[in-house]
Symmetry: C2
Subunit: 355 residues, 2 copies
């Protein structure tokens, strides 16, 4: 299907909420821009691509999204540089991953043209909503869900695609201490852990709450069988630095193929940082801690970019991470955000202009 | 919280859809009754319990149910006997399980009074929708979901509880052949498999579709680690009869504590049928098949009650189940439906009158 920008009709709001927004005090993902992009799947095709005012969706109580969690999403950001040019970061990776997630949940794949032209049309329509305050960006949430009706536990015959956006500040505030989880799990072998499927996230809320009550901010997920290997950090990929080697777990059917994760690996290679993509055992981390070789741990994901971890708990012990002068986390965060905001060269071709 | 029946306001539809319904040709769960029950959680309490015409729900695109799968449901049925009396089957078990599911997904528990009084008020309002045609019943779908807004992956601050109903015929039609799954999985150790969480169902659609393409109707799920032990059949619990012994897998954090399952176990005990609740290996099933000792397999759940399995596939082999004269599946289905429809005594006290 070919969808040119001109074919996406735009219905503009007649009362912008922009004057109400305090761009100097933006929360994360809770102030929504004036417009959204919508498309619907029915009669076997994605159609009716359109930009409309952000507002309520109307769904029957029998819509399958409410019952069977047939829903996937992506997380992206738009950045505005000093000249007012708007940029995305590797958006085609999100488009491809959305479809990978969708396929696992039996949601019909969305054509690239609808995703990309819809996104660009929306960003042009709401370009005044893209923050310019340092550290802020426009968080973009594309999502696909089952909008057809029925209580039969089977795939829907109708789906809805939405892109909504929210000018946002930082995702995390303050120090992050994590607990290495040994009871609860995030994903099964042969399950949907690699997909950005809604159910993967709700399942984390309760174990995360237990961790918070014990004085941590996040959970480090381990494999559900042995709990010996670390897999993800909350809703992010995890990196560990032992000595000067950067380690991260391989992607699998349990682990999300994160775009920030793969960008960090490419940057590390270009920088000559020794990197190992392999299973990382908890005992190896604890041992490195005790020997003073565990220099850093950090989460990596679109929302937080790089989220340094200050300490971790494992069973009854707590370990602090040292302050390091030559922090990899700081280095990667700067390199990535410099590229995202067009403050540096882009040797990898990751920046994508929205014109 | 005390909610008496009188405190639930009822807004009646001014145009019933009842005359359009063909009660002799009811599908499963796709014709919806005139009314629904609603309650909302906000400011830290469940409130605004009400019966209103069945119709669209209005939600912001940022509602967390669309993104993080924070949603749980139950399945129940209402039966009308020859005298027109309406019955439920062990409804308090559903009420308790809904809250068990809700807790795992960090959804605030729903008071029993709201669940039960809401349900009874709704059934009284739509009592003409409860079918009397043999084999039909009113399928009841209570569900709870996150209706608060925000792109932050954390629990919602608002929730909605809905009960919607659908006069329904049989869930399955025709013979059921199942495939014992060795690649995909339904649930992780320490995950949410025991909860009726939406995401558990969407994750099954794709593997089930692959099974269908190979000539099966359903999947038998095995443990995600070794794939050596059977766990559930599609969206039902699984029973196996080897010789005259009835076997079913123990409930766990991966396996739903099914109400039909536990009713069958109680009936079997009362009937003197030898029963074993223990892990069941695939090799044991295949071996019993080859020796002619595998007499029956069946799924058990509210929607289908008991769903006999005609054959199964494992790796490259296919096995047929024999026709047996003294079928346990037939026996249990008759005993349970006789109790449900008030055609027999109810020695267990499972029937619950709606007056």
């Amino acid at each position: 299907m070919k969808v040119s920008a001109l074919e996406i009709p735009i219905t503009r709001t007649n009362q912008s909420r922009l004057p109400e927004v305090d761009f100097n005090n933006l929360p994360f993902g809770s102030v929504f821009s004036d417009h959204m992009f919508l498309a619907d799947y029915y009669d076997g095709a994605w159609q009716d691509a359109r930009v409309v005012p952000y507002g309520p969706l109307s769904l029957e109580p029998a819509a399958k999204v409410f019952h069977y969690g047939q829903e996937v999403f992506e997380g992206m950001k738009a950045y505005k540089d000093k000249e007012g040019q708007v940029w995305l970061f590797r958006p085609l990776e999100n488009q491809r991953r959305l479809n990978k997630s969708a396929s696992r949940l039996m949601i019909p794949e969305l054509p690239e043209a609808i995703f990309m032209e819809g996104l660009k049309t929306l960003l042009r329509t709401d370009s005044d909503w893209i923050p310019t305050v340092a550290g802020s960006s426009l968080y973009i949430r594309p999502f696909l869900f089952a909008s057809g009706n029925g209580f039969h536990a089977s795939p829907s015959d109708r789906y809805t695609f939405v892109i909504a956006t929210a000018p946002s500040g930082a995702y995390f505030a303050g120090e992050v201490h994590v607990r290495i989880e040994e009871k609860y799990s995030r994903a099964a072998n042969g399950g949907v852990g690699y997909a950005k499927a809604g159910g993967n996230y709700a399942g984390q809320f309760y174990p995360t709450q237990l961790a918070k009550e014990a004085g941590f901010q996040q959970v480090i997920w381990t494999d559900d069988n042995t709990h010996e290997y670390i897999e993800e950090a909350g809703a992010m990929n995890i990196f560990v630095r032992i000595g000067d080697t950067l380690l991260t777990s391989p992607t699998s059917d349990r682990i999300l193929d994160g775009i920030t994760r793969k960008s960090i690996l490419e940057l590390a290679e270009a920088e000559g940082i020794p990197t190992e993509v392999r299973k990382i055992s908890v005992s190896e981390i604890v041992e490195a801690s005790k020997k003073g070789q565990l220099k850093e741990m950090f989460g990596a994901g679109t929302a937080a970019v790089v989220s340094p971890i200050s300490g971790y708990g494992y069973r009854d012990e707590r370990f602090d991470l040292p302050e390091v002068a030559d922090s990899y986390a700081t280095f990667f965060k700067k390199r990535i955000t410099d590229i995202q905001y067009n403050r540096s060269e882009d040797p990898f071709g990751w920046r994508y202009p929205v014109s």
